[in-house]
């Protein structure tokens, strides 16, 4: 009881300090301007969404002010993010009704549009928090503070029965939510807030061509079409930060530090690791491509998918021949690689209207080329290259059910949308020497911690079969449905690690949205990190607890 009171006091004190910092005379003027901007935003009520410029150009966008407070085990609080994002989207209808630019007959091309989406980001936490600002030097190039990017830029061309989208874009296949099996065409940027953002915002768009040929009805199929994508040279891996100075760095299942020491023959040595980029470079031979056939058979909506690409997850190959120890320093060379993969997938959904009144979803994939780590003590018979690296074949099966459900005691006007998924991931090529997430610990000599020395271990044996279960519930309240709560849970039944999110969106007006989100990471038993980056990895100790409170103000037009 007393502890809880103390913790609350600390959180309140922290918030007061944060306010006080922002009221410093130097910052006051700037902050008053910001307050004035905010007040005027709240005065906006019904600004047009989609601003039309003439008949051919449309603009829309958002301004998002996202504040994240990390509350480790709810014992403390620290602001880790003040991410201010401006996104501007435009669409140019340059060809309508077979007429380009209002002048030229375009023959068989019926319609064409150009879409451009740009994003600018400034994370002001690095200026607000002295400790953050001081931890980065000029050489760090203000990592994570700012971003100015062309997110997407593509041309849509409609030439019935063919349509084409050319340019930088996102393509999503499959039926899953929140976990990926077939949705692997675009990598994810997990560097600044892991996968906790809308995936539309963290997918890394790629330059590609996407063509769709509409078939319609034939034989036993209805609404059928063939889709093909080609990514000529634009390979990018999933982006992960491993720099512990970043609030959402992935530093393994232990201390939020980078290993800088290693035990060799019982002795603690300094560790110097050189990482070499051996990822696919921009060559035609490094192209990626895929195709799918989608149709309705009976009342079942299904697709058959194939993608030939590279694994977006990066593997690490230890180059043993280049490893040496000299002057008490152990030198290692590791190659970062993204193996070729084949992904075969089958998806289906079915709207069962009579007995369960629910939509049933299914996704099954078979993937080759999954990069896997070996234990450092792996026998040579298992790892002949002794590079602690292997590729595996893996299958994923996802079964899901969506159901709008009346729970009148909770909401008498609207149903609550319930959705649940079960994932089963299975290694076809399994080795007991496969390892998962490593752990960083203090370097120890004679039972004593050695300051500033951190050693990495990996005792996390991968299971042949991995499972995760998700559940979400969402609805809306208020006469016009302006209050929208969402509850999300993901649970790994084997490691008992879990993630919960409770979020509420409140539409102050059509243009101003206030968002509150609370994320909690927990586990029921043991300290198995599990394979899904849930519970224990971000909730085991106070130092790695990533409970978060997210308060956002979003202006949309």
């Amino acid at each position: 009881m007393v502890a809880a009171k103390v913790n609350k006091c600390r959180i309140v004190r922290y918030i007061i300090n944060l306010v006080a910092v922002n009221l410093e005379p130097k910052k006051l003027k700037r902050n008053l301007c910001l307050i004035a901007v905010f007040v005027s935003l709240f005065k906006l009520t019904h600004l047009h969404a989609i601003v039309s410029l003439g008949d051919s150009v449309e603009l829309e966008g958002t301004l998002k002010f996202q504040n994240i407070l990390r509350t480790p085990k709810f014992r403390d609080a620290e602001a880790i993010m003040q991410r201010n994002t401006a996104q501007l989207e435009s669409k140019y209808y340059f060809l309508k009704d077979r007429e380009a630019f209002g002048r030229f007959n375009s023959g068989p091309i019926e319609e064409a549009t150009l879409t451009v989406i740009g994003r600018g980001v400034y994370d002001s936490i690095y200026d607000v928090r002295g400790s953050y600002a001081d931890s980065f030097t000029k050489e760090d190039n203000k990592y994570g503070r700012t971003e100015a990017s062309l997110r997407e830029a593509f041309v849509d061309i409609v030439l019935p029965p063919f349509s084409l989208r050319l340019g930088r874009q996102q393509v999503v296949w499959g039926e899953t939510d929140g976990f990926r099996a077939l949705d692997v065409i675009n990598p994810l940027d997990l560097s600044w807030h892991w996968s906790r953002e809308s995936w539309e915002d963290i997918r890394i768009p790629l330059w590609m061509a996407r063509g769709i040929y509409d078939i319609g009805k034939f034989k036993w199929f209805d609404e059928s079409f063939i889709e093909a994508i080609w990514i000529p040279t634009d390979f990018r891996p999933n982006r992960i930060s491993t720099d512990p100075r970043n609030p959402w760095a992935f530093t393994g299942n232990g201390l939020p530090e980078t290993a800088n020491a290693i035990y060799k023959d019982g002795e603690l040595l300094d560790l110097d690791v050189e990482f070499r980029n051996r990822r696919p470079n921009k060559k035609w031979t490094n192209g990626q491509a895929g195709a799918r056939f989608k149709a309705i058979w009976g009342d079942i909506d299904f697709s058959l998918n194939y993608f030939y690409g590279f694994s977006a997850d990066t593997g690490v190959k230890v180059q043993n021949s280049l490893t040496k120890t000299s002057d008490g320093i152990h030198y290692m060379v590791k190659d970062l690689v993204n193996p070729r993969t084949h992904v075969l997938g089958l998806t289906a959904n079915y709207s069962e209207e009579r007995f369960t009144q629910s939509v049933l979803r299914m996704e099954a994939t078979f993937t080759t080329g999954i990069p896997v780590k070996f234990d450092s003590e792996v026998p040579i018979s298992v790892d002949p290259d002794q590079d602690q690296f292997d590729t595996a074949r893996r299958t994923v099966l996802m079964l899901a059910v969506d159901r709008p459900t009346w729970i009148k005691s909770l909401n008498k006007h609207r149903t609550i949308f319930l959705s649940s998924q079960v994932f089963w991931r299975h290694y076809l090529d399994y080795s007991k020497y496969y390892r998962g997430i490593s752990t960083v610990k203090h370097g120890m000599v004679a039972g004593e911690k050695v300051g500033g020395k951190y050693v990495s271990f990996n005792t996390d044996r991968i299971d042949r079969d991995e499972f995760v279960i998700t559940f979400s519930a969402s609805t809306s309240y208020g006469p016009a449905g302006l209050i929208k709560p969402t509850f999300i849970m993901a649970l790994d039944p084997r490691s008992t690690g879990a993630y919960n999110k409770f979020a509420v969106d409140y539409f102050w007006s059509d243009n101003v949205l206030l968002r509150f989100q609370q994320s909690i990471y927990w586990r029921a038993a043991n300290h198995d990190p599990g394979p899904w980056a849930l519970g224990d990895i971000w909730g085991h100790t106070t130092s790695n607890s990533r409970h978060e409170t997210d308060l956002s103000l979003i202006l949309q037009f």
Binding site: K294, E353, H413, L513
Partner: protein, 436 residues
């Protein structure tokens, strides 16, 4: 001094009490007039004599007893009769369908013991004559309504205002619906799709959190078969299958449920039906323009053109014990078979829960009076002339229990898809990507 204070005190108490009673009076009055039983009594009371009304005459609050109470369904008095009300009266018009309506029908259809229409493929009204003594009269009125001309085949941009009491605007939505009739009597719009009654694609434009969201639904000729539906959500960048059989949840924060669309959007066999007879009602059947909103809450049409229309009154009783409604009564125009009014009563207390009232315009009236354009797109409304159909210019949907209302304006342009274009446009292929 004491006496003066006491007198002042009594005056204040009396004033306060009067104020309270004054404020409570309309509520009590409304509750009195909004029960299912009172609407049935109002229908049975018969139509008033309106022979003295002339075109151009303004109906105001002063006409309450003589005309308004007899012509506006009693459940709607609270919203439609107000102090500065101004209705322009017009004599009953004639709005016939095109000459080929009913000519190209396949006559080999029937109605089964549940009242379900079997093997009907459109092209005309399935039951042009309604006999009051027919045990299926109620269902037949609804079948005519469901297969009426002008129901779809349009580009329809819409603006919707969600308003609380006092006219407070909570949300404004902009979206466009495009729909086509496939089943056209002796032929189908797209050969090979004979099982399809109609297809519709609807896309949101505003507000931004909904912009780009679109859904496609397929309605089938076989009434026993549920619709198929998909929704594309830009933030997910993929379509999602939707459930059709849940029809009683409010849509997108609006004050309507799917089953209330056009008065009745559910399944005939899920209800019991009673034909209550014909009744004259005031209706915005051929408005000049999308009407401005009026009344104390800006929920209802104001300064609009109204006609006295003869309407079928049909009682619908959901069979399910968990359905939110105990009763629903729809008033369907005898000539055009469009729904004019709908009233649904709460299963808890048989008091009004939801109602809707529709604003319509005859296509041929576009030759002499063009309605306004949508605020975000311009269309050639002259395309509407020659179709001889009613066009839906909007509706008021009121939830009496919240209380809250949704007012929609539709800006309809008739559109005939070629078979090839329809095949391309209404396809699942179009649902896998959107404006972003």
């Amino acid at each position: 001094m004491i006496s003066k204070f006491s007198h002042e005190c009594h005056c204040r108490i009396a004033f306060t009490l009067s104020l309270v009673l004054y404020i409570l009076a309309p509520a009590a009055y409304a509750a009195e007039n909004q029960s299912y039983a009172e609407l049935v009594s109002w229908i049975k009371a018969g139509s008033p004599d309106t022979s003295s009304l002339t075109t151009g005459q303004r109906l105001t609050i002063n006409d309450r007893e003589q005309y308004l109470e007899g012509l506006i369904p009693i459940s709607a008095w609270e919203y439609y009769i107000f102090n500065d009300m101004d209705m322009e009266f017009a004599e009953r018009g004639s709005y016939p369908p095109s000459s080929d309506w009913g000519v190209r029908m396949d006559q080999d259809y029937s109605i089964d013991e549940r009242g379900v229409l079997i093997d009907f493929t459109g092209g005309g009204f399935p039951f042009p004559d309604i006999n009051e003594d027919d045990p299926f009269a109620g269902q037949k009125v609804i079948w005519n309504m469901l297969w009426r001309p002008g129901n779809v085949d349009y580009d329809m941009p819409m603006t919707t205002w969600l308003r609380s009491e006092g006219g407070k605007l909570d949300r404004k939505l902009e979206f466009t619906s495009v729909a086509s009739t496939y089943a056209r009597g002796d032929h189908c719009l797209v050969e090979g799709y004979e099982e399809v009654k109609s297809k519709r694609v609807m896309e949101f434009r505003s507000p931004r959190d909904m912009a780009g969201a679109k859904d496609m639904s397929i309605t089938y000729v076989d009434h026993d078969r549920e619709n198929s539906g998909w929704m594309y959500i830009p933030s997910q960048r993929k379509p999602r299958r939707t459930l059709a059989s849940e029809r009683t949840s409010e849509l997108m924060g609006m004050d309507m449920i799917r089953e209330d669309i056009n008065g009745f959007g559910g399944k005939v066999y899920e209800n019991k039906w009673t034909y209550l007879g014909k009744r004259d009602v005031l209706a915005t059947i051929n408005v000049r323009d999308n009407p401005e909103s009026g009344g104390p809450h800006l929920w209802v049409p104001h300064k609009a053109r109204w006609e006295v229309r003869e309407a079928h009154a049909v009682l619908i009783e959901p069979r399910s014990e968990t359905h939110p409604y105990s009763y629903k009564i729809v008033f369907v125009d005898v000539e055009t078979n469009w729904t004019l009014w709908m009233f649904a009563f709460d299963r808890q207390d048989d008091q009004l829960l939801r109602m809707n009232q529709h604003y319509l315009k005859y296509s041929e009236s576009y030759a002499t009076e063009m309605p306004q354009q949508a605020p975000y797109v311009k269309q050639d409304f002259s395309d509407n002339i020659g179709h001889f159909v009613m066009l839906h210019l909007g509706e008021s949907d009121i939830n009496a229990k919240k209380p809250h209302a949704t007012i929609t304006h539709c800006y309809v342009r008739k559109r005939d898809f070629s078979p090839a274009r329809a095949k391309q446009f209404y396809s699942l292929r179009n649902m896998i990507s959107g404006r972003r």
